[in-house]
Symmetry: D2
Subunit: 344 residues, 4 copies
C-alpha cells in the first residue's frame, strides 16, 4: 500500500515513520510539512539517517498526494485535518487522522471543548480504538485515531463499563504522561531545566480528553457519564500510566471483575492482562504497541482501581494508527508492530 | 539545645544533619548507626565533608545519649523507635520520632497496618504536623512526626474537612513521590536502570499512610472516614505531589472553599496558597519546608481537586521535625528553615 | 538456526532475547540462569510477556544444550565463559561470548587486567567487532564479542590509526555511559536517588577496556600503544558517547582525515558518518545497532577530536552479537537488526 | 549593603536572589528585566513566593539604580554589561559582572572569541575567581566573575600549572554540564523530550571558555598555553564535572602533585580536596559553593587526570559572585554561603 504522512515532523509523525519503516506492506510515498518544506526528514530527525531519504513536501496540492496514496495519515494539530478530509472526500484514498477532528460522533461536543467550528460534520468516520471498534474500522473511509490519554483510560475502564460493574459517574482518571505528549514545539513549560526533576498536574477538570473518555464509557455502558480526568507531566519522554477509580455496584464480586477483563481482552495480542493485584510500568511497554492492564479491588471502599500503561507515541498514537491501518487493509493486525518493548 | 540523631544514616537522618547545620540554636552531639558504628558521617555522606566531623556511635547505651541530649530525633524504621522512647521515659530528654511508632492515637490501628505489636501504648505523644497541632506540640514529651505522603495529603484536605465542605468518604488521594521516599537501601525495584524513564504505582489500597490520613480527617471533620490512597513512584529523587479528590456537599460554593483555605492557612509561613486554579510543582519547593497548595472545582462533577507539593525529605520528614523542634523549644518556627527552595 | 543464551538474565542477555525475537532465522531453544533456574523469563522481565514463554534452565548440562544448539551466546560475567567454551570444544556448536574471556589475542594481557587465570588459552577465537574483523568472524568457532566502551572507542579511532594519521600514544578516550552498562545487580552506587541528577567518573586509568582498545589500535597502526581511557556514568539507562582525542601527525590535512573515515566506513550500514564538524547524540542511536561517528579538527592544537555514539546494549553488546551471528551464518548482516532507533 | 541585580530573570540572576535571601549583610533594592518590566519576581519564579515581593524594573535609568546601590550584580548576556559598567564609571557603586565582558585582561582575545567590539577597554577590572585572585578582588571597582566551566577547570589545573608540574600544552579539559548552563530560554536543543535520556558534545574546539582557561593557566605557569576544551550536556539541571588531562613533566613524583594541591587549597573552605584517587560527584556539591577536587596519576602514560565538580549556578555563577562580594566588602567569605549541599 502506498501511504503518505501529512504533518510528518511532529513526534507522532516521526514515530509513524519509525513504524512504517518496518512494515512489510506499506511504502511511504509522500511526507509533508508546511514549515519545513524542502528539508530532508533525516536532517530534522537524524535518528532516521541511512533509513529515510525522503524530502518534506507542502500539502498545498493535497489532492495530488491523495490520488497518489492508498492511505493518508494525518499528524496535524486539531482543526486542520477537517480541511484535508473534505478535500479528499471524493477520492478513493482512506484517512487515519491522529488528531481529534474525527473522534467525536457528536460534533457539538467537539466544538464545545475544542473551540473550533467543525467543518466536516457529515464525514463518514469511525473512532479508531482497535480493540473496541474493530468491526467499524474495517471499512471506514475516515478513522479518528483515539488519543493517548484516552486509549489508556478507555481500555482500562471498558470491561467495567460494558459489564455494568461500576457506577460510571464515580469514575476518576488520574493520568500521568511523559513529555513527548506535549509535542515537539519548545516552550518555557517544557524547557529541560524546569521540567527535569519536577512533577506537576495541568488542565485539571478542563483537558480535552475528558469528553472522549465520556463518549466511550457512555457507548459501552449505555449510561450518561460525567467523569474527572486529571493529567500530570512525568519527567520522562514517553509513557502514560492511567490510574482509574470507580465505585463498584453493590454486590459485585472480585471474580466478576476478573472475568470482565478476561472476556473482553483475553484474546487480544496488544492488551496484556497482569491480573488482579498487578502493576503495569510504563517501561515494560516502551516503544511497543502494548497496553498493560491490572486492577485492584479495595474492600474497604468498595472501589476498583484499574491501572493501564502504554507508550503514548505508539499505542497512544502512531502504533494505534498502524494497527487501524492493518485492520482497514485486512492485514494481520500485528504487521509492523510485532516486536518487543525496549527495556531497561 | 543539644540534640542527637538516632539512626542518622538514612536519607531522613542525613537531611536532618543538613538542616541542623544551619540551625543557630541546635548543636548535634551524638549520631548513631548500628551498621556503621565507628564510621565518620562524612565518609558515608561526602556532601557533608568539611562541615561535619562526627563519628557514628552505637545506640546501645541510649540512656547515656539521652542524658547528654535535650532532644532526640529518631530516624529508625518503624517498630524500633518504641524501645528508644520507653528507655528514655524517665529522662527529661524530649523525642521527635520521624517514623510511624508514635503517630497513632489508637495503637490498634497501628498494629493492624504495621503488623508489629505496639510496646509503648501509654506513651505521652502528639501527632507532629505543626500547622494543625501546634498547641499540642509545644509541651509534648514525644512527637510522632507526620509522614511524607500524609503531610501533603492532610494539609491539602484539612480545610475541606474542618469546614465540613466535603463528603469525607469520597476522598481519593492519588499521590506521587520521588524515590528517596523509599529509603537508602538498594533493591531491584529502585535500581537506576529500571526506575529511570519509568513510572508506576505501588501498594494500591494497602499503603500504611492510609490510616494516618484517615485519622487526621476524622479528627478534623468529626466523621468516620474511609479513603483511597494510591502512591506512585516518579523517576526523580525528591518531591511529592498529592492530587486529592472529594465530592463537595450540596450547595457548597467555590468561595466557601477559597475561604476555608485562607482561614486555616492565611498566616502560615510554610504553607503557600496558590489559590483556586493554581498549580503547585514539586520543584518550586525542592529543598525547602514549604507546602504549596492549590485547588480546583469542577462544576460538572461537583468535585474539588486539591493539589499539594512538598519536598518529602524536608516538610515530609526532617524539616517538619525541625519545625516541631522549634515549636517545642519555643523558638521562632522558621529557625534553621528560613531559606528559599532550590530552582531549577 | 537453533540458538541458546547462557546467562540470559543480565541486561545483555535480555537484550539478546529482544533482538532474537525479531530475527527470522533464529529460534531460541535454551536460556539459562543459575540463580533463577525454573523461573519463566517473562516473570523476571515483564516487558517480554506475551512474547516469550521460555523457562530458565541450569547450565549444568551444558553439553546437552550445546548438542541441541547451532549457536551459543554467552552472557556470563568474565571468567565464566572459558569453562563453557572448553566444555563445548569438541561439539560443532559455535560460540559468541559477550564477555571479555575471548577478546584478547595475548592472554597475559587478559590475566594482568582481569586478575583471573586464563584456562582456555589455545581457544580458536576471533575478536568480534564486525566492521573491522568481518573476514575472521565468518568461520570462527569462538567469537569474543567486543565490549561496549571499546566498540565506541575503536570504531572512532580505527580510520585514524589505520591510515597512520595520528600519534597513537597521544590517544585519550573520555567515555560516558548510561547505567545499564554497570549491570542488573543493585548496589549503593547505582541506587536511583544517588545516581539520578548526578554525574561522576570511575575507574580512572584502571578500567579493563583500556587494553582492549590498545590491542585494536596496535593491530591497526602497527605501533605499540598506551592510552588513557576514562569512563563516566551518565544519569540515563542506555547509551555511550566516546570523546576521543589524538594529535595529528605533522602535515596531516583535514581532507585526509575525512577520506580515512569515508574509506573505511563509506559502505557500512551500521556506521553512520556525520562528517567533520558533526555531533552524534546517544538518543539518535537508542535501541539500534548503529554507531554514529563525527570528527573535529582543532587547528590551534593540531588535535583531532572524534565522537562516537552507540547504544551500549545493542552495538555495544547484543546487537553486535547478532551482527556477528549473521556474519558467521552467512546471512545478510542486517537480519533482525534492520529497524530505526527510537526517538525521542 | 544595598545591592541590585541587573538582568535578574535568568537562572544566574534567580540563583543570586536565592543566595542573597540568606545573606545577613545584603539587602536587594532593585532587580531589573527589560522583557518582564513590571512583573513580580515571584510570578516568574514561584519558588520565591512568600520570600520576595520585589517587582522587576527597567534598567533604563541605570544611574539612578547605581546611585541607590553599593553593589551591582550583572546577569546580562555578554556584550551588554560593558554599557552598564561604563555608565556607572563615575559613581562609587562597585560591580560584579557574571558574564564575560570583564573577564579578559586582553580585550583582543575577548573580541576574537565573542565577535563583539569591546567598548570599555580601560575598565579597572579583576578576574573574579576568589581562591586564586583574592587580593585583587578586595579593592576592585569591577569584578569579572569567572565562568562556570572555567571555574571547574582552572581550579583543577591551577596547582599543576603554578608548580610547573605539567606540560601546559598537553592540557585537555573534557567537561560535562547540566542544562541550566545553557540558560532559561527554550529552544529545540533544550526541549525536554530531546535532551532527556540523551548525551552529547557541543562546540568542540570552539567554546568561548577555552581562552578564559588559557589566560589563567598562562598567568599561573608563565607559559604560553593552547588547550583543548570540550563541553558536553548531561541530562540533569545543575552541576559540572571537569575531567582534565595533562602530561607530567619528566621525573615529577605523585607526592609532588599531592603537595601542590595541598599547598594551594589546604586552607580553603570552599575547595574540598578528595585526594589522589578520589572521585568528586556533582551531587555532592549540589546547591552549594563547594568545588570538590581529586586527581589520579597514570604511571603507564605519565599523565595526571584531575577531576573537579561544582554546581554551575553556585560556584560557577551566583555563589562565586557572593563570595567575591564578601571579599570586596571585607566580610567573612562564607557569609550567606555557609550551608550544606543538598543530597540526594
Amino acid at each position: 500500500m502506498k501511504v503518505s504522512v501529512i504533518g510528518a515532523t511532529g513526534y507522532a509523525g516521526a514515530e509513524l515513520l519509525r513504524l512504517l519503516y518496518g512494515h512489510p506492506q506499506a511504502e511511504v510515498v509522500h511526507i509533508t510539512s508546511e514549515s519545513h518544506t524542502g528539508e530532508r526528514i533525516d536532517t530534522m530527525y537524524p535518528h532516521l539517517r541511512g533509513l529515510y531519504g525522503l524530502t518534506l513536501e507542502s500539502m498545498k496540492d493535497i489532492e495530488a498526494i491523495g490520488r497518489d496514496s492508498d492511505f493518508i495519515f494525518i499528524g496535524l494539530p486539531h482543526g486542520h485535518a477537517m480541511a484535508v478530509g473534505k478535500a479528499l472526500e471524493k477520492l478513493p484514498v482512506r484517512i487515519i487522522d491522529l488528531g481529534a477532528d474525527y473522534r467525536f460522533a457528536d460534533t457539538d461536543v467537539y466544538e464545545a471543548w475544542y473551540h473550533v467550528p467543525h467543518t466536516h460534520k457529515d464525514a463518514p468516520r469511525v473512532y479508531g480504538l482497535a480493540e473496541l471498534y474493530r468491526d467499524d474500522i474495517r471499512d471506514a473511509k475516515i478513522i479518528g485515531n483515539a488519543g493517548c490519554f484516552t486509549t489508556a483510560s478507555i481500555l482500562a475502564l471498558a470491561p467495567l463499563a460494558k459489564e455494568h460493574l461500576i457506577d460510571v459517574n464515580t469514575i476518576i482518571v488520574d493520568a500521568k504522561s511523559g513529555v513527548s505528549g506535549a509535542g515537539r514545539k519548545p516552550n518555557q513549560g517544557n524547557h529541560f531545566p524546569e521540567l527535569y526533576d519536577n512533577f506537576k498536574a495541568y488542565k485539571v477538570a478542563t483537558h480535552r480528553h475528558t469528553p472522549e473518555i465520556e463518549q466511550a464509557v457512555e457507548g459501552l455502558s449505555g449510561e450518561k457519564t460525567v467523569i474527572n480526568f486529571t493529567p500530570h507531566l512525568v519527567p520522562m519522554s514517553r509513557g502514560i500510566l492511567a490510574t482509574c477509580y470507580a465505585t463498584l455496584k453493590d454486590g459485585v464480586m472480585p471474580e466478576q471483575v476478573d472475568a470482565a477483563y478476561e472476556k473482553l481482552y483475553g484474546s487480544e495480542h496488544f492488551i496484556r492482562l497482569l491480573g488482579r493485584g498487578g502493576y503495569p510500568e510504563t517501561k515494560y511497554v516502551r516503544g511497543s504497541n502494548f497496553c498493560d492492564i491490572a486492577w485492584h479491588i479495595d474492600p474497604r471502599t468498595q472501589r476498583v482501581i484499574a491501572l493501564s500503561a502504554i507508550d503514548n507515541l505508539v499505542k497512544g498514537a502512531a502504533g494505534q494508527a498502524v494497527q487501524n491501518f492493518n485492520i482497514a487493509c485486512g492485514f494481520d493486525e500485528k504487521l509492523g508492530l510485532d516486536f518487543t518493548p525496549i527495556y531497561p
